[in-house]
């Protein structure tokens, strides 16, 4: 794998850190008045999702990570695994429940997700920013209510629970912002 010098660091570059693939979020050069320049680098660990900050001295090298991001279409869940397909090559990817666990409530059949592969293995999935989900269960709807500060919890057909306005009823389709797990409007 290629090595990258600190001077080549830029946002989005994928590197190996503590044997996990990480993506650079921010790279800041810090130079003490009388000292050597250092780079303070903020990383996102692509496996754990955690953000970490490391400091390197100029001239150091880090190994690149063999990470690829693919736009894959979610097909179906067969009970054990989640099946995705590359809509261009029709190649299928079978992804286990651990990798999917944090986002499975946002997986809607036919939606295009970003799947991150490391050494050809899927390590994380990013669903679209907005998905359309159906309300599976909630208290009965009230007419005339508008979006207010208060709402009510609703369980979606995928299992996620979020606050919705009072007028939403079972069977309604709603738009959900997957980044913050919030109601984003009627579908």
């Amino acid at each position: 794998m290629d090595k990258y010098s600190i001077n080549q660091f830029k946002n989005g570059l994928k590197l190996m850190l503590d044997s996990n693939p990480c993506s650079i979020l921010n790279n800041e050069i810090v130079k003490p008045g009388k000292g050597q320049a250092f780079n303070r680098v903020k990383f996102k660990d692509l496996i754990t999702g955690k953000t970490l900050i490391k400091t390197f001295k100029s001239g150091e090298f880090l190994e690149g990570a063999d990470v690829m991001e693919l736009d894959l279409q979610y097909l179906y869940n067969d009970g054990n695994a989640w099946n995705f397909m590359d809509p261009h090559s029709f190649e299928q990817y079978i992804i286990d429940g651990i990798t999917v666990s944090s986002v499975k409530g946002y997986l809607v059949e036919q939606d295009i997700c970003i799947v991150t592969l490391w050494n050809d293995n899927p390590i994380s999935i990013t669903p679209p920013n907005h998905v359309i989900l159906e309300v599976f269960d909630t208290d009965p709807g009230l007419k005339g209510d508008t979006i207010g500060a208060s709402g009510k919890p609703a369980t979606m057909n995928t299992g996620v629970v979020l606050q919705v306005p009072l007028f939403v009823s079972i069977g309604d389709k709603v738009k959900v912002d997957t980044r913050i797990n919030e109601y984003a409007g009627r579908a």
Binding site: L17, I29, K31, G33, F38, K57
Partner: protein, 292 residues
Amino acid sequence: MIRNTLIKKQLIIQKIRQFFKEQEVLEVQTPILQNTSTSDVYIDSISLTINTDIGIQSIQYLHTSPELEMKKLLAQGSGDIYQICQVFRNNEYGKQNFNEFTLLEYYRLGFDIHQLMADMINLLKMLGIQDKVYQLSYAQVFNQYANIDILNTDIASLKIIASKLGLSTDFVWIEDLQMLLFVHLVEPKLKNLPLCFIYDYPKSQSTLAKVKNQVAKRFELYLNGVEVANGYDELQTKDEYQQVFICENNKRKQFSKLISQIDVSFLSKLSKPLPQCTGVAIGINRLLTQIN
């Protein structure tokens, strides 16, 4: 918009001049073109070629700081002086570092670093920076934010700490490790102390400051976590300066960096030592960004 920015800068520089006028600190201008490059290990001079006569060229350097030229004046009896000038440094880039920036440098005779910090607090107040003032020693901040007894920890132990944090340990000199740990563990926390002076540095980081009671009599000013000023209780004798220059050049040699000629014109002015004085360099651009 640009005019508003220019007006703000003009106003602040006027206030700085007013402050020094009231204190009878004299404004000076010293040569920007130098015959020698800086000996600072981690600062590089920008060189240029000058035609001294038809066909005869000489290499000169833009000053990286007006320090030595101002000290020549102090040695000759100038009294308290200040200067606002552009300085030039090679290989500096980043969010807070540029190849050219404006520096305010001033020297007060008879002051120690605590008197100089008090003087700076007055200057900052005049410029509208009125936050609560924190004054902490280097040892205190390390103890508080990193739980390290920095003055009594040797290089081997610092390497172990750095290694546990996943940081570089490939350093020959202890000061580099101290600075790395400072940058990594302490500096991010200084954002919580909007106006903070850090003083009494490890003697390994003394540079041109006096060492007393095992610590270098230096301070740095941090505004919202950004280093803005660097102050020293200045060395006074020719021998002390000569020793520092030789030591720094030896370090430059190890990095295969340009070795600076010893500034003979500076040392020759020190046949009589400098008067007891403290001096501070303040980054004007960084300061401006902190003033509303």
